[in-house]
Subunit: 494 residues, 2 copies
């Protein structure tokens, strides 16, 4: 069991190195912009003032207790700073500074080891070095000003600071909100395994995503990951999976990457889901958060795409292991009553209505007939945003009309719906398309950039279910304007 | 030899079915918005006026000659309309209307066959039915108002209308401009093979991209594709590559898809490049247009990405068949003079300068030292747009600064440079990122959405060169504000 209360919920935070133009100033700035809720103490030998806060010269000069220290001063000062923190009774420290074991130099390695010795002797926990630290919306703790203020139920464990920025932003744009995110860098003390162990029992977390370059203790990692996978879905992107990548990982976070074969075995033993790129990791976070695919579900109906896209989507379905059954007679019968007579030829799967020939009532009824069809495990609606010859500005409202009705009809369906919105475009219409995407996730629907990436991600979820039929899977949430916090039950087994 | 002058360069165009709210009206609207340069005659039995043009009741009522008829009236009227066109001396017709052989009905098939009989008897050529037709900037011919007005030297042959819209827009956003695009649908007369044959000798076309669902005459297709590949690079996305996709293709454009094994053989026999998705087809159009990779080139240096992205990029390099050699001593020596002393550890590949510690002169000199390094065949600059913890609005100008200097340094380099710009983001910063992308292609540089897609596409180009060392490859063009027309020599062999 890991006690990481001071890491995630510190009542007070000190940021060292808050001098003009420095990384420390930027970090303190982010905490203030984001809205850290506890006591914030900027530190700098010269003293002074930062955004209305008094700057204390050193950690020992802070009047009250400090739970968490965020260390942004040069590496050579770190062992002494950690000693000061220990003396002050600080409980945990994020070492943002780089220049330790990842440099490969004996000095770097020694400074890191010294920090750990000092910290361990005092019972002070360390995150990093060479990392961004912690994002925990509930505490108002963040390493970027613009991260969502709402909490969610996805946790992210990320060895790289840059990638943690990317992953949080990319997932947030598609509605994922986080319980806790840790960018943990060189992992000199708290490592990926400690964090995984913490999330086994964390009541605020339902899904765990991880970007890992290497692990320290393979045996313990396998054991902890196995326990975590037994209770919550876990998706992992393993970087440094090739020989060259392994060398790059060593110089990035001093990580021992481990062979790809060993990792493959680990994935199949534990039931963790593997992602092969940052984009796939985001797709899986979205899928695990929003898609209540029934175990064994393989039958897909695709709507919205016309013509060539439907041929490609059919290829992609088959490649991802899905079936596309033809419409059954009852659905066809319901549709024939609603469609103009010459639309009969369109009654296949993929399903394509000539919505422009129908009243809104007819269109809604047709969608309802399809979305309540019980011969299907999953509906995929692909908004044909870039397939039309129309001006995008004229076309976006038509897609908005379709999407509004699809979302409405989906609300009455027990079967899951996923939406594809291709966000290409360089002008204002791109922003309009992004607004459509937001409408979807606010209605509790997963969105994807292409049918191909959607089917790949959902196919992974299906295989995950197959391997572990009793596993946890978040249920599709209802509509919510302000993120997804609290909408997923802790044990949403279907 | 195919004479398609009337298809691509008609002096006069008639559009049938121009009634309010119809497809014909939309088509005529696009031609006027785009700026068709010849005589345009809208047709409709009732007559009237359309945007200041007199509407004639029928094609025979048009006073002057008509080179190309665009037919948008219901399928059942098409055989008679084609007869009228033949009587009038029309040279070619685009049949936009659907509802022919792709429906699978005997009537649909018969109407299509009847059209072909009438047209062949009169020497009238047909495009379609069930297609968007022709986009040829030089003639001002277009099936979408918003397509680029500039000509380029890439041709696109696309069986699907929706996909042709997607492909033109997606490629145009990354600087590709077109000589001729044909959406040819059911291919009842002019088919993919005729078009390939035409492009063998078309002096306006250097690169051919194709989306194909199926072909009629496999033997002739192989022979013509072989001849085309001998003189120009060809990239093909074959849809309906799975059993289910094959059925979908049959009901989309009545295409006989052919087995995937037969297609694989075809690709290896002819040297055509295979793309597996629309996105990959766009990536290859960009690569073939902008990237002068030297034959045999396998050595890559990656710049710009920090930390975790560089580990992943290293994996992707190895997977795509590239090597990432360490920096050589001379480059290191030049860099050490320009960088602060503690930046020595960063002197690896991927290459990451602490540009914020350098003057612009130093930064430019450092980039120059790297970009003139002759141990490398390709430079990949990945703009770290979404990796920073900074607000995007603050970060875009920093990336702009880097990119400006990278583009400047690249201009003095003989080695090719590719740029990765991830365009995520839902706000105004997304539009700023799109402006950066435009800056790159105006400087003659290919842009990609991810290092992964860049390396995949460039790896395909490398394998293409390997298979055909004497093949044609467009040279990297100079800067141009208004598209790329005329910037690539017809025989740009390196």
């Amino acid at each position: 069991m890991q006690d990481l209360r001071s890491v995630f919920h510190p009542a007070s935070v000190a940021v060292t190195g808050v001098s003009p133009g420095s990384a420390g100033e930027r970090y303190a700035d982010h905490l203030l912009n984001y809205g850290y809720k506890g006591d914030l103490y900027p530190l700098r030998p010269k003293g002074g003032e930062f955004r209305g806060l008094k700057i204390f010269p050193g950690i020992k000069d802070v009047p009250g207790p400090v739970d968490l220290a965020i260390c942004c001063i040069p590496a050579r000062h770190l062992p002494a700073l950690i000693q000061d923190c220990a003396d002050k009774g600080v409980k945990a420290a994020v070492v943002h500074t780089a220049g330790f074991s990842e440099t490969g130099s004996p000095q770097g390695r020694e400074m890191e080891a010294e920090m750990v010795r000092v910290a361990r002797a005092a019972g002070l926990r360390l995150i990093g070095p060479n990392c961004m630290g912690v994002y925990c919306p509930r505490s108002g703790l963040s390493f970027a000003s613009e991260f969502p203020v709402e909490s969610g139920r996805t946790a992210l464990i990320c060895q790289s600071g840059g990638n943690s920025n990317f992953l949080v932003r990319a997932a947030a744009e598609r509605g994922v909100r986080f319980s806790k995110v840790v960018s943990y860098g060189n992992a000199c003390d708290i490592n990926e395994t400690d964090l995984m162990e913490y999330f086994i029992q964390d009541g605020e977390t339902d899904v765990i995503a991880a970007y890992i370059e290497g692990i320290g203790d393979g045996r313990r990692f396998r054991e902890v990951l196995g326990r975590l996978c037994a209770v919550k879905p876990v998706v992992i992107l393993k970087a440094g999976a090739t020989a060259a990548g392994e060398r790059a990982a060593a110089s990035h976070t001093a990580a021992l990457a481990g062979s790809n074969a060993a990792w493959n075995a680990l994935f199949s033993q534990t039931g963790a889901v593997r992602a092969d790129s940052l984009d796939e990791l985001v797709d899986m976070m979205v899928t695990l958060r929003f898609l209540p695919l029934p175990p064994g579900g393989k039958r897909v109906a695709i709507m919205g795409v016309g013509g060539g896209m439907s041929v490609l989507a059919t290829d992609e379905c088959e490649r991802a292991g899905f079936l596309m059954p033809p419409l059954d007679d009852q659905v066809k019968h319901s549709l024939r009553k609603l469609l103009a007579s010459d639309a009969g030829s369109m009654l296949g799967n993929p399903i394509d209505f000539p919505f422009w020939t129908m009243t809104e009532d007819q269109y809604r009824d047709a969608l309802k007939a399809v979305l309540t069809w019980d011969g299907i495990d999953l509906f995929l609606y692909a908004a044909p945003l870039r397939q039309s010859e129309m001006r995008l500005a004229d076309f976006v409202p038509l897609v908005d009309y379709q999407l509004r009705n699809v979302i409405g009809a989906a609300a009455g369906s027990v079967r899951p719906l996923a939406v594809v919105i291709n966000l290409m475009g360089t002008g204002q219409s791109r922003l309009a398309a992004a607004a459509l995407q937001q409408k979807c996730y606010e209605a509790g629907l997963p969105t994807y950039e292409s049918t191909s990436s959607a089917l790949k991600a959902i196919g992974r979820l299906a295989r995950f279910h197959q391997a572990r039929p009793s596993s946890q899977c978040p249920r599709q949430a209802g509509t919510s304007r302000h993120g997804n916090a609290g909408h997923i039950p802790d044990n949403g087994v279907r």
